[in-house]
Symmetry: C2
Subunit: 155 residues, 2 copies
DNA sequence: CGATATTCACTAATATATTAGTAATATAGT
DNA sequence: ACTATATTACTAATATATTAGTGAATATCG
């Protein structure tokens, strides 16, 4: 009825970012499903591949998964043999999470399809736009995390 | 260990988009919490404000909420008086979802704080960058939905 | 050294997401 | 009319998200 509603002059930015992400990940989802791994699990596997062993706290910050969610996700991943967990000797609170031969083999099998999908996307949007878009995302994230409003853990 | 891992040449684009969205919505979350409304509920209220009454199917496409999730979300929203649901006369399968005086009053109270937050963000990233970033998101979404891979409902 | 505060992974309860499937209604083609 | 198919909102089961809070371990400070 009121397509100008008056109340809001700005477009819904979080929704736009969500929509953009949905359109991108829609192209990867079939690959993840075919290999029986969830989005969160894959995010963690890829982070560990790129960075090496991490602690849950670091995984949460990197992959944007909250501590309570992480507890269940990591527990299930250990159960199906995608990761292993090991207490640190000098600090019994902390934990080391690392990949297993199985998850390394899995990502080796997935890598070609993932990379092909990135090439598809780049073909659609153009290499130049692609580069500038990554830069824009980095700039946005950098600007927003430089001056956080409250105590929102994000670095 | 292996910070070059070799397997992946492209950065994790869905993760970057997720991180960007998290940094943005982190500034709105305190407002939503203060008014006792969840992210999904607010997305729906704002969509209805902008567009007028919608059917669940349309809400799902617009707000990127799946049909099963929507069932629970709408049910809870009706229970607390944020929306009302009404069957269509000429098609008993379909449904009209519309706002209530209560949700209109709520968004009127929230609007100033929401708008102020957008101004804060724009001040941080710059008006020019802001404009170009919105355009880039539109372009990305447009390019990706123009040639969908499979039958992924998205417009 | 000892009391206090902080950090860390985790649990509990509820909300939402995902995948598969269902019943009711509507439409298309015969 | 009639069968087959499509569409719509929904349920069931499991996974993940969110908010609050816990116990164990460590760090900090008096």
């Amino acid at each position: 009825m009121n397509s100008e509603s008056g109340e809001f002059r700005h477009r819904n930015l979080p929704l736009l970012l969500l929509q953009a992400r949905e359109h991108v990940i829609a192209r990867f989802r079939p690959i993840l499903n075919a290999h029986g791994i969830t989005e969160q699990q894959w995010r963690i596997v890829r982070a560990l591949l790129d960075t090496g062993p991490l602690e849950p706290r670091e995984i949460g910050l990197l992959c944007r998964i909250s501590s309570p969610s992480l507890a269940g996700v990591l527990s299930r991943m250990e159960e199906i043999g995608l990761i292993k967990r090991k207490r640190l000797d000098h600090d019994q609170r902390r934990l080391h999470v690392s990949l297993t031969p199985r998850s390394r083999a899995l990502s080796a099998r997935m890598a070609p399809q993932i990379e092909a999908t990135y090439r598809d996307i780049e073909a659609l949007i153009g290499a130049q736009f692609s580069t500038r878009f990554y830069e824009a995302l980095d700039e946005l994230i950098g600007a927003l995390q430089a001056r956080e409003p409250a105590a929102i853990a994000s670095e």
